[in-house]
């Protein structure tokens, strides 16, 4: 095995074989993130479920009961939760990815391993969270279904894995961008939580996309790559929500662009970021 260390290696060269060699580390990081966080807590991993559940309840009360946003025939609880499941997965990956360089700088400045391992571990960790959330959601969904609520599951459900994959790639892409930029502009560290929150309201989670009728706003809404994911996902479960194929294509375009450019940028930044810490 010959390693050559030199300046200015190509932006686009990502050593996939090396990533594969560190797969054990990837899985241990996932395990660490899943177990270490909730040590010395009583409820432990239940927190993974409680957080989105409480958010759903709050949304139901505020946007459903108080503000009375029209979500059609779908039970409010199912409506909000179906959106949140996707959103939380995306936001979780983005959040984890964004901090991957800065918050691990003490390790990264002492030992080398492919830095991409860290954001990748976030994708998998969040997948575990997603699974828990999804099971909770299915529980409520089944209950409402049994109660005779107007839910029309359809063939778009088969599209679900694609939507999850899209969430993952999108979260990773944006996460890589933010973590690379944070090295230079620390402001992002403060701006990110705020941005994520605003972004959530720009995504049809507490309202259906159909509620936005002004053509200009509609365009902006569908430019947001998460819009398609949430709308298509919700449609699969409830039969409501828009199936706008153009929007889906656009969303995939944005996702892939952000992912590829994010990978390149991250690859460029990670090589010398230790010098600017």
């Amino acid at each position: 095995m010959v390693t050559e260390i030199r300046a200015g290696q190509a932006w686009w060269k990502i050593n996939v074989r090396e990533l594969f060699e560190y797969r054990d580390l990837l899985m241990l990081l996932v395990k660490r993130d899943l177990t270490a966080v909730y040590k010395q807590t009583i409820l432990g991993p239940l927190w993974f479920i409680i957080q989105p559940l409480v958010t759903t309840v709050v949304f139901t009360v505020i946007f459903g009961t108080v503000a009375q946003i029209d979500v059609g025939e779908v039970p409010h609880f199912v409506f909000y939760m179906s959106g949140l499941v996707f959103w939380n997965y995306f936001a979780g990956i983005l959040n984890h990815g964004a901090g991957s360089l800065i918050s691990n700088s003490n390790v990264l400045s002492k030992v080398y391993f492919p830095r991409l391992i860290i954001p990748l571990s976030g994708v998998i960790t969040q997948l575990a969270h997603l699974a828990l959330n999804f099971v909770t959601f299915l529980g409520f969904y089944a209950w409402y279904f049994w109660q005779g609520a107007d839910l029309q599951p359809n063939r778009w459900l088969l599209f679900l894995p694609v939507l999850v994959l899209q969430c993952a790639l999108m979260g990773l892409g944006f996460g890589l961008w933010v973590s690379s930029l944070t090295i230079k502009y620390r402001d992002l560290k403060f701006a990110l939580p705020f941005m994520i929150q605003l972004w959530m309201y720009a995504t049809p989670i507490v309202y259906p996309a159909a509620l936005v009728v002004t053509p200009l706003y509609r365009k902006i809404l569908w430019l947001n790559p998460m819009t398609a994911v949430v709308e298509f996902g919700r449609h699969g479960f409830t039969g409501q929500g828009s199936v706008y194929l153009g929007g889906l294509a656009l969303s995939w375009g944005v996702t892939l662009f952000m992912l590829v450019s994010g990978l390149m940028l991250f690859n460029r930044i990670q090589r010398t970021f230790v010098d600017t810490l």
């Binding site: 095995m1 010959v2 390693t3 030199r6 300046a7 580390l25 002492k110 080398y112 230079k184 230790v274």
Partner: protein, 421 residues
Amino acid sequence: MSEPAIRVEGLSKCYRLGAIGRHTLVDEVQHLWCKLRGRDSNAYLGKVGGGSVPVQTDKEFWALKDVNFEVRTGEVLGVIGGNGAGKSTLLKILSRITEPTSGKATIRGRVGSLLEVGTGFHPELTGRENVFMNGTILGMRKREVALKFDEIVAFSGIEKFIDTPVKRYSSGMYVRLAFAVAAHLDPEIMIVDEVLAVGDAEFQKRCLGKMSQVAKEGRTVLFVSHQMSAVSELCDRSILMQKGSVHAEGPTDELIKGYLESNTDHASFYRANPEEKLDQQGYIAQAMVLDANQERRSKFDYKEGVSVEIRLELREIPIGTVVGASLKDAMDRRLFTTQHPLSEEERRAGRVSFLVRLPEKLLAPGGFSFQIALHLPRVKMYDYLHSVCHFEIVDTGSEFSYSKDDYGSFLVDCAWRNLSE
């Protein structure tokens, strides 16, 4: 003839000073503008850099400058040099933590680098979990760690606590476990920095033993340490770095000698400004640390004799005046005082020099300085230097079987007689 395990060619690393992390948006836009117009933005904005020729400017610092050397397969090469000589930067580049600015390094074989022990230890995880975590961070596969797990735990000597979260460990236990993982890395090439400076004396000895075992197994090791004794013990050949370049290369012992002799910093030398002393009856004009050959030095082998030359300027000094010197350790504690009453001739001479010679094999490795005074005891202080003539006794491996850096201040060859026989 096989290729060398590590070949470093023209390796340079430049750090930008000051400006780091303070790029403004205006800066960026200017750069972009220049790029769009097809100009070299650096030249346009009056900045230097980007070229491959190391040029020293105010805003740049070349931590490494055109470093060249080779490490043969199976060789244990030491890297020595003072603070800021570029050792750490070199290791960082060779362990791929950062990239060089120019030049290249070719490494043949799997590298394990140890710039710190316990990297990636998570306080909430148990010792067992951290062993796996740390091992994989250092580049091992999980099953490799599993194979060596028992050996690692036995080496660390903390079997009882292996399932306790490491946040409950004492710092000593933490370091033991961390070193145990590192010591069982199995790379073809090991890059090691200062890790021996941890743990208690007994554990350090085991670490050193482990290191020399690794060396004997024919693995390639690049070893950096301030502890000259460790370097001379482990490495036959070394490179001496100074100001970012390889200053010398050769057998370790010769190199260490050269390093000791080359180091004469100004703290080892004191000279009074006569202008300030015009109205004094007498003062200490000069004081410096010398070696056996009357050469100025500041670093000594423990086997060498250390001398201090004190030059006095005397005008009207009364009978009974004394010149005294106290030796102080690095913590500024006074170790002993030696003094000399000035004789009639000496007082009249106006200018007089003394050479105070300390016996060899007296001081244990560590930093020392002198406190020098010219005074009439209990009556008047003519001149007083609180801390001058700094020098250092460097551990080059003594016969006193010490293995840690806190030696106390003196070396005393005590007799040990076994009474139970």
